[in-house]
């Protein structure tokens, strides 16, 4: 432990001492709660920690330094698009006009935000090549559920009640099958073709009158563009099913491929991936969903409408009975969408296309460097999109060092690990996505680190197997954590003082 740098911290509860506080709000009149019936009152105040501002702030500042973050270094996380989070976007979301607007404020006093939301919809319509957008979903998975529920409602609206199957490639993200289940449908898992792409025959064999939808990630979670997608979409539509596109990988195709034009019916967009809204250590995000015309009637309510006089309003309660209903309270994660709007406007059309070009170029460059080194297996050697798979399969056979060990050893080199063991279909997979905002110097340093670790696996495998060595903690006892879960601090009795009055 040094006077600068990361230090493990006691818990907030250990900093607590009865009577510590910093006065933030005025004291209420002493009779403020007299009208509260006794049976509804809390008997004992909650034993929340009593800390003063200095101790609390130091706690959170020091805790934060234990994190890796985009603001401190590189995240080569496949499927996660950990790109730069521009600082102007944080400023924008905090403008009082945006931040302090109540979600039930009448339309008349919310015109600025309503216009912004409407403009975001228009831009996403253009990017997706679809016809309408809802901004309500709070994340990608939430968007998936929204999309699949709309597909279900569409079939039902046509009296087509027996479509219960959702076809999902086995390389798909876990949210795809989980979504199907939440929507009351059955997941039919389809094996990937040996080249990593869609096995067209297997799909065709599974398609039929019970197929509600296919869920396709394009580019796939292997980072490959599904070049047989046109044929697949035709087959899907031929059996009366609809095609859902998981848009998590949209960063690879902006201005190069519009799912709506190509024949997809629904897609979600992860603003926290493609449009740079910050991941926040796990969230928040936003998962707007774009649909083709015939699905628009089913969009969640309320939508943002633009009146002929140029004013904006929300749909009234019950205005559009075909809607699948609400997916969440209020109108959406507007604070996230303000950031996305700033990002979209900053780039404009040409900037968005440049993002994709640079992201794909960076991924191929990095892939090329690793392939040339021979240090790792590269299961799919052709051109990739924004991400690619490397595998430690041979290294493991030769040295016993696994992908997990390599991931941990990267932490000692100052890098976050790539996404590992995903997709599940590739042995010892590392899914690597550099994004367009990392410099060539960073890409080179990362490739060098990976190559050096592969050599280390031969020369000194134990160093790799016991990594990390320089992180704030060593590897964790995850089994123990799950066996005897300790999920909350239990304050000792007496850890609180009664309120002063």
């Amino acid at each position: 432990m040094s006077a600068s740098g990361p230090r493990m911290q006691p818990s907030l509860f250990e900093l607590s001492k009865p009577g510590r506080r910093s006065d933030k709000v005025p004291h209420p009149p002493s009779d403020a709660l007299d009208r509260l019936p006794a049976e509804h009152r809390r008997e004992r105040p909650p034993a929340l920690p009593e800390v003063n501002e200095p101790d609390a702030v130091r706690h959170f500042v020091n805790l934060s330094q234990l994190n890796h973050a985009v603001d401190t270094g590189f995240y080569p996380l496949g499927s996660c698009t950990m790109k730069w989070n521009p600082k102007v976007n944080e400023w924008a979301a905090r403008l009082p006009g945006f931040a302090q607007l109540h979600p039930m404020a009448p339309d008349a006093v919310a015109q600025g935000t309503l216009q912004l939301l409407w403009e975001v919809e228009q831009i996403l319509i253009e990017v997706s090549g679809m016809d309408a957008v809802t901004l309500q979903p709070a994340a990608g998975a939430h968007g998936e559920l929204t999309g699949i529920l709309m597909i279900r409602a569409y079939h039902r609206s046509r009296g087509d009640m027996d479509r219960t199957d959702v076809l999902v490639p086995d390389s798909a993200h876990g949210t795809n099958p989980a979504t199907a289940t939440m929507a009351g449908l059955r997941t039919v898992s389809i094996k990937a073709a040996p080249d990593g792409g869609i096995d067209l025959d297997a799909f065709k064999a599974a398609l039929g009158p019970t197929t509600a939808a296919v869920m396709i990630t394009n580019p796939s979670t292997m980072g490959l563009f599904e070049s047989r997608i046109g044929e697949l979409l035709e087959a899907v539509h031929a059996v009366g099913a609809l095609a859902y596109m998981d848009g998590a990988n949209l960063n690879a195709i902006l201005g190069r491929f519009k799912p709506g034009e190509a024949g997809f019916d629904v897609m979600h967009i992860n603003t926290h991936k493609t449009f740079s809204t910050p991941h926040g250590g796990g969230g928040p995000g936003a998962g707007p969903v774009a649909v083709v015309e015939q699905l628009a009637p089913f969009l969640p309510a309320p939508r943002v409408l633009r009146e002929p006089d140029g004013r904006f309003r929300l749909e009234a309660v019950g205005e559009r009975p075909t809607s699948i209903g609400r997916m969440r309270s209020f109108v959406g994660s507007t604070g996230v969408l303000v950031r996305a709007y700033a990002y979209l406007r900053t780039h404009g059309g040409s900037g968005l296309a440049e993002i994709t070009d640079d992201a794909v170029l960076a991924a191929n460059y990095l892939k090329g460097r690793l392939a040339a080194s021979g240090a790792y297996d590269i299961p799919f050697p052709g051109v990739c999109k924004h991400e690619f798979i490397a595998s430690a399969s041979s290294i493991k056979k030769r040295t016993g060092v696994r992908t997990l060990d390599i991931a941990k050893r990267l932490l000692d080199h100052g890098f976050h690990a790539p996404t590992v063991y995903f997709p599940l279909t590739v042995d010892e997979a590392m899914l690597i996505e550099p994004t367009e905002t990392e410099s060539i110097e960073t890409l080179d340093a990362f490739a060098d680190a990976l190559i050096a670790i592969a050599q280390e696996a031969d020369t000194d495998p134990d160093v790799v197997k016991t990594a990390p060595h320089t992180a704030p903690v060593r590897r964790l006892d995850e089994v123990g954590a799950a066996r005897n879960p300790n999920l909350r601090w239990r304050p000792a009795l007496g850890d609180w003082t009664p309120c002063p009055d």
């Binding site: 959170f60 500042v61 979600p103 529920l149 909350r488 601090w489």
Partner: protein
Amino acid sequence: MAYGPHTPADRRRMLASLGMQSVDELFADIPPALRSTPLRLDPPESEQVLMGRLANLAGRNRVDLASFLGAGAYRHFSPPMVDHMLLRGEWYTAYTPYQPEVSQGTLQSIYEYESLIAELTGLDVVSASHYDGAAATAEAALMTCRATARDRVLVSRAVHPHYREVLTTYFHGAGLQVEDIPLVEDGPAAGTTDLAHLERALADADHPVAGVVLPQPSFYGLLEPMAEAARLAHAAGALFVAVIEPVSLAVLAPPGAYGADIAAGEGQSLGIPPQYGGPYLGILACTDALVRQIPGRLVGMTTDTDGKRAYVMTLQAREQHIRREKAASNICTNQTLLALAATVWLAALGPHGLRDVAALGAAKAAELEAALAAVGVARLHAGAYLNEYVVRVPNPVAVHRELLGNGVLAGLVLAEAVPDEPSVAEGLLVCATEVTTTDEISAFARQLQSALAVTAHPVGGAA
């Protein structure tokens, strides 16, 4: 160039390493027929110009009104130290802590969040986190079905209408049943959940009930008979879900105390700005018995190989990335940063500050009640409230619009928000918190008085 680092020379070098001339070659795998039309969007904007545009849009929202609007989203005082912490890139630009060794900050903060909410709710297990109060409530109801292997839940009509709508969307999708429990129509309990109806509904042996969902306080601001409802639910083998508002738990009996199995609710009131609806914080907590049914992220305390205390995501076998179609939920990205916001806010205020916030809200609401009563506007219901309630005004749509024009946001017009609840058709749902000022209260009363005078004696208008 917006944020990219690549100079033309860098691009050339990268392409050369691939033996390519043009970046177009990297997109040769897109079949020509599927290639996109160009993006018809505006050109890029410099930061200075963009900021002008955004300031202009933000300026077109009116956030300077004397506002009495609550209805599920509340203005609260947030000490500047809270946003100061949230602005640290180490928090908001971090990813999900899948590499715990370099994510102890996020992991410990989540553990602390779980601990704080557990203490507030009187429950054991808290997941971190859900999209919002509505989604958390829907997930809570789904939990009751999984845990009891039953498919019917009863939801009080005193629950926030958005939550009920979301629950219905989720349940219809999943092929499960939702039934309303109506409100008591009159008497001292008017506006609260009709327990007699609940008892009858629970008694239907052919359709056993998985869960019963009641709010505290209710959408109408009333305190609900939670202990009695929980007893009835348990007697029928159902689980009991409390929809809570966390600030109120400083002074109200916690769900754990009245026998709730699950608590769900909106964490926005823990210092998160209203920002027109999100990002918010869905709170979900349950008893130890339900730990393997709860969806969402759980962080536990453990040790590293040196025996040092550390934190890690745990019980991941419930989650979609492991269990896929058998997962407890499809949730992946959640609201972690908002859980952090709530944690810092609670640390800033502490137990006494939180209680002061709740008590000040109650005091201001009582002050408002008196001020409105003085101009002839009374509460609609008789029951006890904390800091929100319904007042009755004639012609609420017109009155509300009139006041808005004069700088007062007179709460929520219930005729518009819950058109299917005729008992509140003349109601305005109003709320006060610690940030409500006496000036605002006087302005409201004054404006209301003159608006009602106009409504009573319309000048040349239709009566």
